[in-house]
Subunit: 211 residues, 2 copies
């Protein structure tokens, strides 16, 4: 099981977070661009091999000063998510999503998905939508990852195809019943909902004494 | 809706597929390595900026000869999946999974997931497991993507945390009822199942005349 110690954080300032995002964000965007280029390129073999060698050389330089002991950080008690595959500003796999909250308890994000997230031609991969919804509903259940909560079950209902491009995800808590939190949400394009999701998040046994 | 024309393919030989995999596989592996390095590096600002510039230069070269009209290919009637975010050998977002089939109808894959797929520290992101399961169950429903099939619903049940590392996914058809195919599967680590999934795949209306 996950230890409660994993949920401790070092507080950093909002300025320090801005500095980190400004440092790593453009690097991660560059990596996203090369992910896309690798899918699309029709370059000749020599160009491909040179590209590969250049990328390996960059990786080697970055690895030379890898952080052996990466710190989990928080700003005002809310975790700074930099490695997450949906929201992390240092993870090129993430679109990334930036989450927003409303006073009424709605959590939402507008984001862009391109060819690396494609299933059938022109459409977002259904599993990518599940990945995004798991993250968004989980953020709601855990109040922005500030409480330990694990996904129990999640169900996706695909209403129609979701086109590549600009999308919106939103979610809210339906109800809380003991250590179970019921959350629902959806993804929509400019014409409305494309996928609905509902799930149950569970507070782990070791955290049930806490609030 | 998706047009049936999207499901046409150009047949290529197994040798040609081997050539493409040998050409693009190592490039994609290099991009995966730099995704990981970008998450982990503790390099100074100048090194980060140089890395960013190098990656942008590589992307620019690859983009200069982008395939405007990417062909969908098949070997022996089975689609060649090179861009898919779970199985594509040209998509650095994909771990990637390589699917295998057994005579009894079981589809399985053994694969490795590292830090870019992490949720809580040391554990695979629940949404990444949903992404993988959607792909694996969908491959079963569509017989290796050779038949047009769209996800109707899919439910994941998380039995316990799934550790980063080597995992196995498997799935099989439960039953077919008219244009609905019911599929179930799971992901396991060396100690057994960690996530179960079940879903319904739907044959689109335009394809219902076909076999």
């Amino acid at each position: 099981m996950v230890e409660s110690a994993d949920f401790s954080f070092e507080e950093i300032s909002a300025d320090e977070l801005n500095r980190l995002q400004a440092l790593y964000g453009p690097l991660t965007d560059a990596v996203r661009r090369v992910v896309q280029a690798g899918i699309r390129t029709g370059a000749d073999e020599q160009t491909i091999r040179e590209a590969q060698a250049s990328i390996e050389a960059v990786a080697e330089k970055l690895e030379a000063s890898a952080d052996a002991d990466v710190v989990r950080m928080a700003v005002d008690g809310r975790p700074v998510v930099w490695g997450n595959p949906v929201t992390g500003f240092r993870n090129a796999i993430a679109p990334p999503l930036i989450m927003h909250t409303e006073p009424d308890g709605l959590w939402w994000s507008e984001f862009e998905v391109g060819e690396p997230y494609q299933g059938p031609p022109g459409w977002v991969h259904g599993g990518v939508l599940a990945l995004v919804l798991d993250q968004v509903l989980g953020e709601v259940a855990s109040e922005g990852l500030s409480k330990p909560m694990f996904t129990g079950t999640i169900t996706m209902r695909y209403l129609r195809g979701t086109p590549l491009g600009r999308l919106r995800a939103e979610a809210a808590i339906e109800r809380i019943d003991g250590y179970k939190t019921f959350v629902s949400g959806h993804i929509s394009d400019s014409d409305g909902k494309t996928v609905e999701a509902e799930g149950i998040w569970i507070k782990p046994a070791w955290a049930r004494g806490a609030g």
